[in-house]
C-alpha cells in the first residue's frame, strides 16, 4: 500500500469510529467529541487528497473547517449547559419528553 492509500484508510477508520461514537454513546460530551472526530477525519482526508493531487485548495479549506469546528463545539457546550439546567443530567436518555 502506498502512503496515500494508508492515510485515506486511516481517515475512513477515524470517520467510522466517529459515527459509532455519535450513534452509540449516551453521554452528550462523548457525542460532541465524536462530532469533532468526524470533522477532523474529514480534514485528514482533504489534506491527503490535495497533497496527492498537488492542489492547494483542500489544504486551505482545512483552516476554515477548524474554525467552524471550534464554533460548533462552543455552541454544543452551551446547549449542554442548557440541557443540564433543565434536566439535571446530560445523558441523552433523560431528554425524551417529545414523543407521539
Amino acid at each position: 500500500m502506498t502512503n496515500d492509500v494508508l492515510v485515506q484508510t486511516l481517515a475512513a477508520v477515524l470517520f467510522t469510529i466517529g459515527i459509532l461514537v455519535v450513534l452509540l454513546r449516551r453521554d452528550t460530551i462523548m457525542v460532541l467529541m465524536g462530532i469533532e472526530l468526524l470533522l477532523n477525519s474529514a480534514n485528514l482526508s482533504l489534506v491527503a487528497f490535495s497533497k496527492s493531487a498537488a492542489m492547494i485548495e483542500g489544504q486551505l479549506q482545512v483552516f476554515f473547517v477548524i474554525t467552524i469546528a471550534a464554533a460548533e463545539s462552543a455552541i454544543g457546550l452551551s446547549i449542554l449547559i442548557n440541557l443540564y439546567r433543565n434536566f439535571g443530567s446530560i445523558k441523552t436518555q433523560n431528554a425524551s419528553t417529545l414523543k407521539g
Binding site: 468526524l38 474529514a42 460548533e72 455552541i75
Partner: protein
C-alpha cells in the same frame, strides 16, 4: 510555488461590492443589532428595528441589482446571477416576515434580544448557500446557517422541550454537516475539483468514475436529505418543530427548507443527473424511492396527530416528498427548477402564516396546541380563523390559493416529463392530506370549545406577519401569472 501564484489576489471592483452588498449589510446589521440588544430597557425594540432596517436595506440593494450582469467572485466560487439574486430576494422576504413574527413573541417566551441578530446571521448563510457552486464553500454557508439555527431552537431557556429539541437538532445536524464535508472530500479525491460544474464536466468525459466518487456522493446526498427532512432522515423534524419557539419553527419551515432544497437541487443537477454515467442510475432510483416514501409516510402519520404543530411537521415531510418528485422530474425531462422554486416560495409563505396564527394562541413554554384547545376559536376570532383556514387550504392545494398553483405546476410538469407513477402516488396522498387539514378547520369553526380555553395573546407583530402571508397567499392564488413568468424568465 508561492501561495500568491496559486491564488492571485484580485481587488474587488465596484460591481462586486454592490453584488456582495446584501451579505455585507446583513452581517454588519446582525452585529449591530446584537450590540443594541444589550440596552437595558429598550433592547428588544432597538434590535428589532435594526434587524428590520438591515433586511429592508439588503432587500433594496438586492432588488436594484437583480438584472445587472453576472458577477463571479473568488474564481467562480460565488456567482451572482439574476437567478441567485431572485432566490436571495425570496429569502429576504421570509426573514422580514419572521422578524415581525418574532416581535412580541420574544417577550412572551423570554427569548433574548440576540434572536434578531441570529436571524440575520442565518439569512446571510442562506444567501451564500444559494449563490455558490463550490462544495466546500457550500459547507461553510451551511454551517453559518445551521449554527445560528441551533441556538435559536434552544433559545427558550426555561423550557425542557426546547433544550431537548436543541440537543437533538445539534447532534443530528452536526452529523449531517460532517457527512457533507467527508463526502465532498471524497468527491474531490475522485474528480479533482470542488466546483460543481467542473465535476459535472469531468463526469461527462469520464463515464466510469472510481467507486470513491459514489461513496462521497452518497454521503453528500444523505446530508442534504437530512437537512430537507426526507423520510429515512426525518426523525428530528417533529421534535424540533414542537420544541422550538413557534416563530423559529415558522422560520425554519420556510427559509431553511427553501435553502436546503435549492442546494440539493444544485447538487443533484450537477452530480447525480449526468446521463453519461450509467452508475448513477442507482442514485436516481434512490431519490425516487425517498420521494415516494416521504409522501406516503408524512401524509399517513399526520392523520393520527392531535397536536397542531406536530401535525404540520409531518405535513412538511410530505411536502418534501412532493418537492423530491419535482427533482426526479428534472432528471427525466430536462426541465429546469422553476416549478420547484414557485412551489417552495408559495409553501414557505403559507407555512410562515400558519405558525404566526398558532403563536397568537400559545402560552409561555407551551409545547403545542391540541385540537381540543382550538375548538371554537374560529368563531371567537373570525379573522385569525379565516387566515388559518386559508393557509391550511393552501398547503392542501385547494384552488384559489397559492398552494394550488404551486402544486399544479409541479405535478403537470412532472407528468409532461414522464414521471407518471410518482405523480399518481403524489395525487393520491395529497387527497389523504386534505383530511387532516380540513379536520383542523372543522374543529375551529364547527365544534364548541371543550373546557380547555386558550387565551388570545394579541401579538401585533405576529398578526402583521399572518396578514402579509395571507395577502400573498390569496394574491398569488388568484393572479399567479406575473410571478410565474418572472421566475421562468430568470431561470432561463
Amino acid at each position: 510555488m508561492n501561495l500568491i501564484d496559486v491564488f492571485p489576489l484580485t481587488a474587488l471592483g465596484a460591481s462586486d461590492f454592490l453584488n456582495l452588498g446584501p451579505v455585507l449589510i446583513l452581517t454588519f446589521g446582525a452585529v449591530l443589532s446584537i450590540l443594541l440588544g444589550t440596552h437595558k430597557d429598550k433592547g428588544h425594540y432597538l434590535a428589532f428595528g435594526m434587524s428590520l432596517a438591515s433586511v429592508l436595506a439588503a432587500f433594496l440593494v438586492n432588488y436594484a441589482m437583480v438584472f445587472s450582469s453576472d458577477v463571479s467572485i473568488l474564481g467562480e466560487t460565488l456567482i451572482f446571477s439574476p437567478f441567485t439574486k431572485t432566490l436571495s430576494l425570496m429569502l429576504l422576504v421570509f426573514s422580514g416576515i419572521a422578524i415581525f413574527l418574532t416581535f412580541g413573541h420574544d417577550k412572551k417566551e423570554g427569548l433574548l434580544a440576540e434572536i434578531y441578530g441570529l436571524i440575520l446571521f442565518s439569512v446571510t448563510g442562506m444567501i451564500l448557500m444559494v449563490s455558490t457552486q463550490h462544495l466546500l464553500f457550500m459547507f461553510i454557508a451551511l454551517e453559518i446557517m445551521s449554527l445560528a439555527i441551533y441556538v435559536m431552537v434552544a433559545m427558550r431557556r426555561t423550557s425542557r422541550f426546547s433544550a431537548e429539541a436543541g440537543l437533538k437538532y445539534f447532534i443530528l445536524g452536526g452529523l449531517a454537516s460532517a457527512l457533507f464535508l467527508y463526502g465532498s472530500s471524497l468527491v474531490f479525491g475522485a474528480t479533482g475539483s470542488f466546483q460543481l460544474e467542473s465535476i459535472s464536466y469531468f463526469l461527462s468525459s469520464h463515464p466510469n468514475p472510481s467507486y470513491i466518487y459514489y461513496v462521497g456522493l452518497g454521503l453528500i446526498l444523505t446530508a442534504m436529505l437530512f437537512k430537507v427532512g426526507a423520510v429515512p432522515f426525518h426523525g428530528w423534524v417533529p421534535d424540533v418543530y414542537q420544541g422550538a419557539s413557534t416563530n423559529i419553527t415558522g422560520f425554519m419551515g420556510a427559509a431553511v427548507k427553501f435553502t436546503a432544497f435549492m442546494a440539493l437541487t444544485k447538487i443533484s443537477q450537477h452530480l447525480v443527473f449526468v446521463p453519461q454515467v450509467s452508475g448513477l442510475s442507482w442514485f436516481q432510483n434512490y431519490v425516487w424511492l425517498i420521494a415516494a416514501a416521504s409522501m406516503i409516510y408524512g401524509n399517513f402519520v399526520a392523520i393520527s396527530q392531535n397536536e397542531i404543530k406536530r401535525m404540520l411537521s409531518f405535513s412538511t415531510i410530505a411536502h418534501t416528498g412532493y418537492l423530491l418528485l419535482g427533482l426526479c422530474a428534472m432528471n427525466v425531462g430536462e426541465t429546469s427548477s422553476e416549478d420547484l422554486i414557485i412551489y417552495l416560495f408559495f409553501y414557505a409563505l403559507s407555512n410562515l402564516g400558519a405558525f404566526a396564527v398558532i403563536s397568537q394562541f400559545e402560552e409561555k413554554n407551551q409545547k403545542d396546541l391540541t385540537l381540543d384547545q382550538i375548538a371554537g376559536i374560529g368563531l371567537k376570532h373570525p379573522l385569525l380563523g379565516a387566515f388559518f383556514t386559508l393557509f391550511l387550504l393552501s398547503m392542501a392545494g385547494i384552488p384559489l390559493t397559492s398552494g394550488f398553483i404551486g402544486k399544479y405546476g409541479l405535478f403537470s410538469s412532472a407528468v409532461n416529463s414522464g414521471e407518471v407513477p410518482l405523480v399518481v402516488i403524489a395525487v393520491l396522498t395529497s387527497v389523504v392530506s386534505v383530511y387532516y387539514y380540513l379536520r383542523v378547520i372543522i374543529y375551529m369553526f364547527m365544534k364548541d370549545s371543550a373546557g380547555e380555553e386558550v387565551t388570545f395573546q394579541g401579538l401585533k407583530g405576529a398578526g402583521l406577519a399572518a396578514f402579509i402571508s395571507a395577502v400573498a397567499t390569496l394574491q398569488f392564488g388568484l393572479f399567479p401569472r406575473a410571478i410565474i413568468s418572472f421566475v421562468k424568465m430568470i431561470s432561463k
